[in-house]
Symmetry: D2
Subunit: 325 residues, 4 copies
């Protein structure tokens, strides 16, 4: 389940970001266009919660900002959790509270206190790096069936919550949005929260970063396929996406590592004009071409992915449960 580049990339946005994180796109755009200050149509703030957790908010406010970084107008909140693979209970709880606060805030901008919510977990339970969505769904405190069949066991004013992990296109044969549309028509929720895997530029962010946005997503299976979009456009209700990078493409990894390598040569005065130029350019496409003849451009994930997914699952599930119940 990997969000794809919008096809409406325009002349300003000449390069391919290869990341779904608004904050990385903003940085890449500024670097590529030598912009010093904030881009027109984009506002952002950054806050360090503690030594391991930071929150960055990027707000795209107009069409100019939208064009610059190829993301729709809306809110993009990135929570980074350092050293997640060795995180203890206390840090996981802290991170889930940060997520919960941001989520509660963004939900309240779209629906009322008791409006029905459905949580959608994208991904494949049988592929470890892609199993976060279904694992979170298993931990969501659903109430919809109890409100229908046994309301006496619930407190007055309990919000109706349902949750589903429908599987991926490759194992169902059905676009997720086709499944979801029917459910929305039959069960009438007011808002969708979708948990999705993202592409990131940075392997450090694998299963350690969460991006909350309110602009919907396009799952991986739906390349160039408008029908696959999961958004207010296709569903008629607001969609809040919780996206987590879980894999990285080899060419992205090599491209970024090459920059770090040249940077090191520069510091040691061992670089030269050619390399300096190489660093300023984006060599992704050429690296990709160099790798692909060898069938070498794999999608990779860190060895510790099992533990990362386990800890991130706790953060996201608690974050959602606390925000919506």
């Amino acid at each position: 389940m990997f969000e794809n580049k919008k096809s409406n990339d325009n002349e300003i946005n000449q390069f391919n970001f290869r990341t779904d994180l608004a904050t990385e796109r903003r940085d890449l755009y500024k670097k590529a266009n030598s912009v010093e200050n904030e881009i027109d149509g984009i506002e952002s703030t950054k806050e360090e919660i503690d030594e391991n957790i930071s929150v960055e908010k990027v707000k795209i406010t107009n069409e100019q900002g939208e064009k610059a970084i190829g993301k729709p107008i809306g809110n993009y909140i990135t929570i980074d959790v350092k050293k997640l693979k060795i995180a203890q209970e206390e840090e996981i709880q802290k991170a889930s509270e940060v997520l919960s606060n941001e989520l509660r805030n963004i939900i309240s901008q779209h629906i009322a206190q008791q409006d029905e919510i459905i949580v959608l977990g994208l991904g494949n339970i049988y592929v470890t790096p892609d199993s976060l969505g279904p694992k979170v769904i298993n931990e969501i405190d659903v109430t919809r069936h109890l409100l229908n069949y046994a309301p006496e066991y619930l407190e007055e004013g309990t919000r109706s919550v349902s949750a589903i992990a429908p599987g991926v296109l490759g194992t169902t044969g059905i676009e997720t949005v086709e499944i979801l549309k029917g459910i929305v028509e039959n069960t009438h929720p007011k808002l969708v929260i979708v948990i999705d895997a993202l592409a990131s530029r940075s392997i450090e962010r694998i299963s350690s970063t969460v991006q909350i946005s309110d602009t919907g997503i396009i799952p991986g299976g739906g390349v160039g396929n408008a029908r696959a979009e999961i958004s207010e456009n296709t569903l008629g209700i607001p969609v809040i996406a919780i996206g987590i990078p879980t894999v990285v493409e080899t060419a992205v990894l090599v491209n970024d590592s090459l920059d770090l390598f040249i940077e090191k040569l520069q510091k040691e005065a061992k670089s030269n004009d050619y390399l300096n130029k190489l660093k300023d350019e984006d060599n992704y496409e050429e690296i990709k071409e160099a790798l692909i003849p060898q069938d070498y451009n794999l999608i990779v994930t860190p060895k510790e992915i099992d533990d990362l997914i386990e800890n991130m699952k706790d953060i996201v599930a608690r974050g959602i449960n606390f925000a919506i119940n």
Copy 2:
């Protein structure tokens, strides 16, 4: 996901069968009503395929048969596989071929060669005895997305197959039929195959028996809830159910064991009138009442359930794939 007793049990059908297997119900009815020959409105045949595999077909042909055993008019095919927990590849393959033949036959009575099929796996992947449905879905050869996006990779005349394991009411908050209805409306299959867990009277049948029927099912969550039925009534297309017993209720186990115990006392001339009468009666309700004050009437499953599920998954998945592709 346990199919429930039809509420239309009538005066003839006074006792509760506590089994979803038509063959067990037929036997119980004949015993309770001292019927020697076949019941009016019920036809059946039995075939031993080899020393471990047998197939029994029960056909309910009229309302009389329907009333007798509380199952709708239709076909009920039971495949028993002995010693499944230690079955080798060869026996699993054999059993899957038997299943496949029966399935192909029953499907051809309802739809044409290339008509679209959706396979539905009920159950909860995180509860071992209830995980068969989702595990089978993961092995179904789906083609629908390829027919839509890459038909050039498929042979001419490939049937469109999709598959979904939507989860259980307790973790989704949504009745399975509500999920399925939307999918059927959006994707237009001509037939549903549903994999479901059944109740059986016999612990020997746990994950060792498959019942194929063409009359739909009511999942466990929907007690007394007509909306929960998964059938041609609710979906508008035929539903073929593949049901597998995976658990047993303690009271059923004790009731049946008590009969075996008294039988043994009788053989040894150690029984008496009271016990003889006890054996002829159905003591399920009283045993249940005796157990419940202690919270003792659990649902149990054999220790080897992991291996049983694994082997049965192979039989059912291969059986379906071979029958429909």
Copy 3:
């Protein structure tokens, strides 16, 4: 991994207890021998910690007590946790603290503050009802390798802890004690803590009761096999066993359910002399014989075993970590 009946059952101990819990054996002995007060050589106390957790301590003080219930002289502490399958974090933490206190106390009776400990998890990770031991081992905070290779990262006075889950006889071909003996000879721990599955009379106790004892165990594979014993006799160092019932034999379940059933008939004045006598006797052997011709005497486990094991794993792992580090 099921502890077996000692072969030295003597004339006093005529019946087979079919439980490894000292507290159940004591009750059975008292009932069978119509003993009103405490048995000679056996002392016991019971404490309710809160509404869900209780602790019972049985101490066998002399050979008379040993003969009565067929368990060696020593301490047997039973912790019962009610409603474990729906336990929340708080109750799991509470139960782990109770376990930890008892464990710390019993360990201190055998070794000094910093003496090396090895934790041994019996069972098979691939068989859900038998997977508790290996799952606990994965959570034990081991320090032995750090003390050897990187002591600078540990606090002064850290105890050396190692842990192993060697697998079961059926998958290794080697008696656990043969594996353990070599490790003890090569690594020189001063005490073994072994996590083991027990037989219990009560299905209510499945994965809800913990028995701590300091008298060693005999794993399931070693029927009538003295070499298989894991105890101070075979290893030369004290062995503390943490045993948890995880399965029940059908004949035991039926035998006990039959008693509950007759009890109910008695209350309703529907019993008779024969049944009253039946209840006073132990019908296990006859029930077993009645069931076995049908290959019906399975080992069963509750449907919720996945969740029970998960919660019990947390209690035992935390209990051990807190007691020994």
Copy 4:
């Protein structure tokens, strides 16, 4: 569990191979030293079994060969299986037969027909990329306990086979060789087969290549630690290693990708002297230094690792079972 470079790297062997595959080391040595033909002390042959499977045998025959590639005198057989992640049953069976033949051949050079064998699976069942060893062990047909307790069920002349997956240093606190030594002393096998994860230069080889060797291994935990070696030296019996690459270090990936990238620039006449020189050198150490300040030099694995491990497990388990039973 990653085999480490022998510490006896000498002046000839100046660079670090960063691979445990003899065939990759031979190629690297030849390239670095501009050797055209075979290296003195090294013989090799290569055979294409079919379009997907090839076998390469490297034999180190004297100290000269040993020094050249830093591997002890002995046999190194590499089986490559292309497209393993999408392999069907037929190809898996074929690959397992190739492995089986090579294994049977190499075993027969060390022990007699019925001599006892112990199979050792290194790795951690809870870390997907490191779970191959334990998963293979679960499928080994062990006979030792049956030969001891129930020989009547076995054919005359059955070899005694045992198997163990002891876990990793980080979860046991004990070096694998310390565990194994005790078992060997107590059970007296004549040969060890050890399944181990290897380092490779090529991400294409992840879980797609098997190296059989008869010279023992050093598990990952034992860096610079002679005691950790699992070999005839430490155990007194021959050790046959079956090694499978399952992860790759980012710096290795980047180093090799950089070469491919420069090669592409060269072909397009876009390279320069500096880059050409860069390509001829080994930049691993500098790349590593460039990456490490960012904590960027992770160990990565392909996204499809679950399926790769599953298929490779079948190949290795069947290969061993067929070779030794």
